[in-house]
């Protein structure tokens, strides 16, 4: 354990973890069950913010900040923007669930199995901090992310990062081309 974490040990981590996890699960359920799309979007925002809190608990403040800016602040605003232009009265009358129980159970079972497999193979039991892994210094997280992405020697993910951004560019151009007949 590094000196900074030793000097300022994490406080009440199980409390915050279970709290945030509960908020995420409740928010996730509300996203599906609400009939009004705006309510769903607001539940989704709560879920995303709680997820940012979980990133903070993993000593990744940079990822948490980006999560808030991109998802909660950026993408969800566009979601709401679009939803508000839909007629709510009509969507309230639409059928909400399509009763695909069998496929749903199979998918949920597969995902649950995956979780259990991960939990047992990593000899879980202690949630925070993960045993046997170095706990990263919070104050170096931003620099750590940057050196993983862009450093000449340690930057293993630069190619993947650039490819992903190129993909986004293609998507943007595609959206413009599809939306506008004459450019």
């Amino acid at each position: 354990m590094n000196p900074q974490v030793a000097a300022n040990p994490p406080v009440a981590t199980p409390f915050f973890f279970y709290g945030l996890a509960a908020i995420m699960i409740i928010g996730g359920i509300l996203v599906i069950t609400r009939k009004n799309a705006v309510h769903s979007a607001m539940a989704l925002i709560t879920t995303l913010l709680a997820q940012a809190g979980l990133y903070l608990m993993l000593y990744a403040p940079f990822v948490a900040g980006v999560q808030i800016i991109l998802y909660a602040g950026g993408i969800m605003v566009l979601f709401l923007f679009v939803i508000m232009l839909i007629s709510i009265e009509r969507t309230l009358k639409e059928r909400q669930f399509n009763k695909q129980w069998l496929i749903g159970i199979v998918a949920a079972g597969a995902l649950g199995g995956l979780f259990i497999a991960v939990y047992t193979t990593t000899k879980g039991g202690v949630l925070f901090p993960p045993v046997g892994r170095p706990s990263y210094v919070e104050a170096q997280n931003t620099q750590g992310v940057a050196s993983l992405l862009f450093d000449l020697h340690t930057g293993t993910y630069m190619f993947a990062f650039e490819i992903a951004s190129l993909l986004l560019l293609v998507a943007i151009i595609g959206a413009v081309v599809m939306a506008k007949k004459r450019i």
Partner: protein, 431 residues
């Protein structure tokens, strides 16, 4: 009990922020201080805006409630609290109820990282500026939901305009901020920082405010930010979301009483928040003017007198106007009130001369003074510029500010790395 006192005292000698030292007691004290200070600032700003705007338009402004209308904001606040709190019949009750709180929470939470001094911040985050931008961008959600939940035409149009405007100007704003953050990495240690305190310290280490760095690149970035921040806070001349002449009051048309006052509070504290981002990034934060040229002990002493002198000057101004009050018996209470206000200001000024206070308050004073300059600019804009049309607004945002910001970002990176680039060029061409 003894442990508790020791715990409280243990922070006093530390050179960290309460959050950094992990001291919960002092963190709570700082949170309360910032909250109270902010509320007082919003009240003062309310009075100042009405007064200054009135004088710009050759009117007197509020004059009746208290001497020169000094008690007007308090009267306004009382009126707002006593007003009936209406929720429209067709409104979405829950969302209507939640929306003002989202806006207020977003506007106040950002002050967690605002650096009023090297130790005078609630906490110093590694992602300080990112946190400020992220959390302040959440206020759009509150505005959009407020407009939608009202279930009425004007609020919906206002909310759509507001979200389009804030999302577009956030891009230009972000680019300007990134070019300032690039400048922080030009120290000897050559690691940049996102921490608000770190950014000001980088300006101190580089002997230069980022406003004047790589002239004119710093100034251009600052101008982009200064324009974008006015649009971001929905203020004149970019106040289309609440354009009275066409949309009644925009997204908060259906709100009244306490809920409306929450929107008001949030708008002004968001203005203070973006101004403090600008001050931190470009105007040297808590550093007094010319921190490197005039850093001899004599100059430090001279600068440390300025806060006290400012308050003494304000007190003297009050006494001057006390002397000019009409001598009619009806004005007696107002005259006494103004004299009392002058005495309070002068007393604050005298307290600020005590050496122990003087040393600790200087940085807070300089930070607040710079932010106050921006607040005056906001009022000045409102008094000067006519409102933009929506297409003009979008044109400025996407066709002027965004390309300028992109070019600026690349130029700043090139100029900042020119040493390394030249060396590489020599390696390729000059053998």
């Amino acid at each position: 009990m003894h442990d508790l006192i020791q715990y409280i005292q243990s922070y006093l000698g530390s050179d960290k922020t309460p959050g950094g030292a992990g001291n919960i007691f002092w963190a709570t004290v700082y949170v309360l201080l910032v909250f109270v200070g902010l509320s007082v600032a919003v009240i003062a700003m309310n009075w100042l805006e009405r007064k200054i705007l009135a004088h710009m338009q050759v009117r007197l402004g509020p004059m009746r409630v208290g001497p020169h209308g000094l008690l007007q904001p308090i009267a306004d606040a009382l009126k707002l609290l006593l007003k009936e709190d209406i929720i429209p019949e067709g409104a979405d009750k829950v969302v209507f109820w939640v929306a003002p709180f989202i806006v207020v929470l977003a506007a106040f939470t950002v002050f967690v990282v605002v650096p009023f001094g090297p130790t005078h911040a609630i906490t110093d985050m590694n992602i300080g500026i990112l946190f400020m931008l992220g959390v302040s961008s959440l206020s759009v959600l509150g505005i959009v939901t407020a407009g939608w939940a009202s279930n009425s035409h004007y609020p919906l149009i206002g909310a759509l305009r507001s979200s389009a405007q804030m999302v577009s100007y956030e891009v230009a704003m972000g680019l300007a901020v990134v070019s300032a953050i690039l400048m922080t990495s030009l120290n000897e240690s050559s690691t940049g920082t996102l921490s608000m305190i770190g950014i000001v310290q980088a300006q101190f280490d580089q002997h230069e405010w980022f406003l004047f760095k790589f002239f004119p690149l710093g100034i251009i970035a600052f101008v982009i930010f200064a324009i974008a921040m006015v649009a971001e806070t929905n203020r004149a001349p970019f106040d289309l979301p609440e354009a009275e002449s066409e949309l009644t009051a925009g997204f908060h048309t259906e709100y009244s009483g306490f809920r409306w006052s929450l929107f008001f509070l949030a708008e002004y504290s968001a203005m203070i928040a973006v101004s403090s981002i600008a001050v931190t990034l470009w105007l040297g934060g808590w550093l007094h003017p010319f921190p490197n040229l005039l850093s001899s002990p004599t100059w430090e002493l001279a600068f440390s007198f300025i806060p006290g002198l400012t308050f003494l000057f304000l007190g003297a101004l009050c006494f001057y106007h006390t002397a000019r009050m009409p001598k009619h018996p009806l004005f007696r209470i107002q005259t006494i009130g103004l004299a009392g206000f002058g005495v309070v200001l002068a007393l604050i000024g005298v307290v600020l001369f005590i050496p122990a206070v003087r040393d600790r308050v200087g940085d807070i004073f300089w930070f607040s003074a710079k932010v106050a300059g921006f607040m005056y600019l906001y009022i000045w804009y409102r008094g000067t510029f006519p409102r933009y049309r929506f297409d003009q607004l979008m044109k400025v945002g996407w066709k002027v500010l965004l390309p300028t910001g992109l070019a600026l970002l690349i130029l700043t990176a090139v100029v900042g790395m020119r040493g390394e680039l030249l060396e590489q060029a020599k390696g390729v061409f000059g053998r």
